[in-house]
Amino acid sequence: MKGYDLFELAVRNLRQSKLRNGLTTVGISVGVASLVAMLSLGVGLQQLATRRLAGSGMFDTVFVTSKQDFRGFDREDDQKTEHPENAPVLDEPARDAMTHLQYVTEVEPEIRVMGEIVSGGQTHFGFVTGLPMSARENEAFDNLQGKFFSGPSAEEVILLNDFAKEIDPKDPKELIGQEVTLRYGERQALAPDSESAGRPQLAGTPGGGSNSASGDDFGFSVVRKTQKLKVVGIIEEEPYGGMRTVSRGRIFLPVDLTEKLNMAQFTDMRSSLRGGGGKTYMTLTVRVKDPGKVAQVQDAINKMGFRTFSVLDATKSLRRFFTVLDLFLGIFGSLALAVATLAIINTLVMAVLERRREIGVMKAIGASDRDVKRLFFAEAGAMGFFGGVLGIALGFAIGKAINVGTGIYLHRHQLPSEAVWILPPWLIGAAIAFSIVVSLLAGLYPASRAAKLDPVQTLKYE
């Protein structure tokens, strides 16, 4: 028998006893729905957890420092490092090498300098921090007022709400869209023959008068500069920035802009001691594509001779937890489907008994045992398919209800609502396929029983 004939006959037979087959199909759909609801709850919770972790910026970031600097984070490591003065420095080539490591999405210097915002004739002191474009994903920007930077070197600024209040106590939001002036110190390298270059020397700048004292002369001057910036946004709290070396940043600039402005940092003092003239970084922030790869990236950077710091791979144990959770949810969900399987067997066995005569007739007019078996299989499969589709719809409704319920609960506790239940497309396909497979397995016994019926016995005239 051809496939379409098989399907047509199967559906026609199912429609013969609508109530019974309908109830069985609903039974399957309840089973599928509970499975889908449970598994997608697992998926949703996992995604929620991952999203929260990624949003904090803690789990995909490695902070890199040179072993020459900042000793004391890890005593054991410090003691093992015999000649820290020979350790590599965080210079441009090192940064470049890290950028090219596998799984690394960006390497940004940590920039934190003192600055002043001049607005309406008043000056306000604060720490300036450079932010990469990827910081947009950080949860600190979840309730951003205004906009994020339009580009990595846009002349724009985002302010911390407290700082904005300091500038405009009445309505800090008014600041958005306005232009302010940033006053900062620019680092200007001194050539060994700087005097002949005729660069103006400012009083009180380090290195100002000492560069000609010896042959080892290297240094820079810090020059007061101003830069006009447009306020584009205000945030409540500072994004997770790792070392928190000095103080809270209150003024945020696109990181490329801060680099372009060549702002003088505390660490410049350190590099001036080191000599050599090249630009070095105190800390590099390495962002990793997937929190699971942090350890790997950290390893690679350690091998380059740098000190690294990251919140250790918390995601690994998290993933193990969710695998177990999914398993449990799956088992619970499957219970209803197991009951539904029994219902299919029961329904089909009943159908075989009821249709003994019909099966005999079909065999008498040319149906093979295989045709009969396939027909019952097709009926089981069709119930599985319809049950699966219905179950997805039902599961979807249950999931929506869970989301609405948790939304109300979270709202009551003054928390932003979260989607704890997510139905991924693969689960839709998998659930329907699973439902069909389970139904076919349930159809095995009834189908072979139908195929074995003896037409002579069933056709005896009663």
């Binding site: 028998m1 051809k2 005999g360 007739v361 008498a364 040319g366 093979s368 005239y461």
Partner: protein, 238 residues
């Protein structure tokens, strides 16, 4: 053994000492007990006998619905006893048409669908089926109420549908088990007339089981009498 000497054309049906035993309680029922019978192509043969004489069992053996305990059943040179169940199904599908006393139409299907059913098993093209359904129904004289269910038809009409279904795959052998048993005598005669006409026009071999000797004498070319699973006598009619 009165086996007919083989002519150039093999006979339509030939049984050689065919037996069918059933275990029953402690003993054995010999439903068919060593019957040897030859039926020529295009012949209309009636099997007569009391109930329990083994005529229906013999018919089932010819239909390939049942397998002999011993002996052979050869239809157009092929031994049914040696066929697999798949092959027997193909044989029933392509070479045999069956008509029953109880009609055995599928109640949930319309007339058209009932006649179409054997063609589904034979994997006849969908496009061709409609044509062949109409053809078969015309042959049995049914042209109306084709979308009705069997229960909405009279007994005679139902038997015509059943006959049309038997003809759907253009069989060479028509097996009828008490085809008039559920019909009044006039309708029964109509059906037998129809069967005889079809046999003549299509060259189809007919084996009919009946216990009504008068009817059999009027339509069949040969009467075969069975009793206790054995062939008692044969009678050729003009």
């Amino acid at each position: 053994m009165d086996s007919v000497p083989s002519s150039r054309v093999p006979p339509a049906v030939q049984t050689a000492n065919v037996c069918r035993y059933y275990p029953m309680g402690g003993g054995i029922i010999r439903a068919v007990d060593g019957i040897s019978l030859t039926i020529e192509r295009g012949e209309f043969v009636a099997l007569l006998g009391q109930s329990g004489s083994g005529k229906s069992t013999l018919l089932n053996l010819l239909a390939g619905l049942d397998r002999p305990s011993s002996g052979s059943v050869t239809v157009q040179g092929r031994d049914l006893a040696k066929m697999s169940s798949e092959e027997l199904a193909a044989y029933r599908r392509n070479d045999v048409g069956m008509v029953f006393q109880a009609f055995h139409l599928i109640p949930s299907m319309t007339i058209t669908e009932n006649v179409e059913l054997p063609m589904r098993f034979a994997e006849v093209d969908r496009a061709e089926r409609g044509q062949r359904v109409r053809e078969s129904l015309e042959q049995v004289g049914l042209g109306k109420r084709l979308e009705h269910r069997p229960s909405e038809l009279s007994g005679g009409e139902q038997q015509r549908v059943s006959l049309a279904r038997a003809l759907a795959n253009r069989p060479s052998l028509l097996l009828a088990d008490e085809p008039t048993g559920n019909l009044d005598s006039r309708t029964g005669e109509d059906i037998l007339n129809l069967i005889r006409d079809l046999s003549l026009s299509l060259g189809m071999t007919v084996v009919m089981v009946t216990h009504e000797r008068a009817l059999a004498e009027r339509f069949a070319q040969r009467l075969v009498f069975l009793g206790d699973g054995k062939l008692l006598s044969q009678e050729a009619l003009a």
